[in-house]
């Protein structure tokens, strides 16, 4: 197990190197000039040239790339052009905001969807099952920007119950923060809840038709134990896979949701950085996101091993 973790950690290095290289190349391919973007439309040609020199944009691409790599190894992600502060500071400031809504919505989605999926599966073709599945279908099909706008329209504009913008502050009390969270969280939780419900249901259906479930019944175990202990543990791996993907995505921030609700998270940070040709910030943010994906995947794989003992990566030489 320890050996497998070490192997996987070593495999992360080339993965991240590829990510760094691709984002480096892609940001350079975006049309537009970061120096001009920083200085604004009124800047003169001389000013822009001076700025380019200062930002190191006149060096050859090769030199820029090598310098960037060197700095990353030292833990220096560079300085944001547009904010003029270190990229790392910006990200560490924004990530908690994003995680506040993304993790809350993820937990909410799990708490709702797994019981819902299980009940739908054991009551297959019942009214409950049909209603849950229709709702799930609606949930996955709904465009998130539309849902977000509708939520704002109903709860902020028409009813006036909840704020539509911003994050709130603990200085104004807990309710201020919570009330600002409700709509973005509801918006973010919709699709995952629907997806997890469907996956839990189909995975449970597959398991409950297995022979060993009949054998467990023949042992005189309670139905509750059979479903929630035995069947659920067998049905979990696919559910964990999708939860894992969603968890990794939680670090990126939801670009649409954050934009709709003007939530100061990673999503708005990254879109802003792209608009401003803020190379360093884009690269840093993408790298952090990639790292989140890689580590969450590793965690998911470890969880598999705990749930299903048959999964043994060590004997197969480790999988990426």
């Amino acid at each position: 197990m320890v050996k497998m973790i070490l192997q996987r950690l070593i495999q992360i290095i080339p993965t991240l190197l590829v990510v760094v290289t691709i984002t480096f190349v892609l940001t350079r391919l975006i049309p537009g000039n970061p120096a001009a973007a920083v200085l604004g439309p009124q800047a003169s040609v001389e000013e822009i040239e001076r700025m380019e020199e200062e930002m190191g944009l006149n060096d050859s691409l090769g030199k820029q790339y090598v310098d960037y790599l060197k700095n990353i190894v030292k833990g220096d992600f560079g300085k944001s052009y547009s904010y003029n502060i270190p990229v790392m500071d910006l990200i560490t400031e924004r990530i908690p905001n994003t995680l506040l809504i993304s993790l809350t919505s993820l937990v909410l989605a799990i708490l709702i969807s797994i019981p819902l999926g299980i009940v739908s599966a054991i009551k297959q073709y019942s009214a409950f099952d049909y209603i849950a599945m229709v709702l799930a279908l609606v949930g996955v099909s709904m465009p998130i920007f539309w849902l977000g706008l509708m939520l704002v329209l109903v709860f902020s504009v028409n009813l006036g119950w909840l704020p539509s913008l911003g994050m709130g502050s603990m200085n104004n009390g807990l309710w201020d923060v919570v009330s600002h969270m409700i709509l973005p969280v509801a918006c973010l939780a919709t699709i995952p809840t629907a997806t997890f419900t469907r996956i839990t249901r189909s995975s449970m259906l597959e398991v409950v038709n297995n022979d060993f479930i009949k054998s467990l019944r023949a042992r005189g175990l309670k139905e509750r134990v059979i479903i929630y202990k035995h069947a659920l543990k067998n049905a979990l791996p696919p559910v964990i896979t999708v939860i894992g993907l969603q968890l990794a995505a939680a670090f990126t921030g939801a670009i649409l949701t954050e934009t709709i609700f003007s939530w100061p998270g990673m999503g708005t940070l990254i879109t802003g950085a792209i608009e401003n040709r803020d190379y360093m910030l884009v690269q840093g943010a993408v790298l952090i996101t990639a790292m989140a994906f890689v580590f969450v995947n590793l965690a998911v794989d470890l969880l598999y091993m705990v749930i299903n003992p048959k999964v043994n990566y060590e004997s197969k030489g480790g999988g990426a």
């Binding site: 009949k214 019944r217 005189g220 134990v225 749930i307 048959k310």
Partner: protein, 337 residues
Amino acid sequence: MADVVLEVKDLKTYLFLASGVVKAVDGVSFGIERGKTLGIVGESGSGKSMTASSIMRLLPKKIGKVVEGEINFNGKDVLTFNSKELLEFRGKDVVLISQDPMTSLDPVFKVGAQMVEMIRAHQDISVEEAKALSIESLKKVGIPNPESRMNSYPYELSGGMCQRVIIAMAITAQPKLVIADEPTTALDVTVQAQVLNLLKEMQQNLDTSIMLITHNLGIVWEMCDDVMVMYAGKTVEYTSAKELYSEALHPYTWGLLESIPKLSHESKSELTTIPGTPPDLRLTGEACNFHNRCPYAIPICSEKVPELLEIKEGHFVACHRQTKESTLARGEEFGDV
């Protein structure tokens, strides 16, 4: 009959499918005395396993239903059990040993945990005591290093080992009845004998009754006191194993006997099979189910369902050609089919 553990009377179990009603078990009666073994023999689809599922009340939900009959276990009607009584009944009074041992254990829980779980579902003892009991019972079925085997997952064991674990589980329950549904079908021939011996041993130690479902008549001679031959959901012959061995009366049983490969001088001859296939169980009811495969069939066979009659003392047969008045000997004649 003295001390009847299980008595099944005129059991009818139907499967309600979209394509029609399948009469999986169609009026079957039998009894098992304490410490005795009843063999139920028949080819696939003859209703053997459905009979077992009916007794365990484990028929496929919504589809399978016992439409008629009684299942008495120690004088109590199993069909009237509520869910609490059922939990007591299953895994304590009756234990099921099923065909494929690899799929009768939950793949993601350790063997020991599953044994302890089952014991504690029925006995009010601590985890430690349940563990000790499991280890002791694994020892009884000849599993080496039972302490470390407790920590194995089912996939780490061979089929034979799994079946031993399941028998060990059965032993911890000290059941009054074991329903063994083709317990050796999925196992190597060498392991089959060991597993059967374990069942016998368990029966002697605990005075358990066994309902042994098989399609292997060899196992029947070895293990059973009584035999019931089933065909297309009905009992065609029901008698003691000895009697069946010396004088089977139903043409279908003869067919089964002829399909056993023999290791004798005639072994070069081709293996005999029963021609044709069992009837569609949605369409039965007007004739003897076997008439279109039976070389001895006469016109009445396709017009009337034969009743199960006691031809000789303790020997029941359902065949128009076998009556008290006129019996037919095996191979005596071939009808005009």
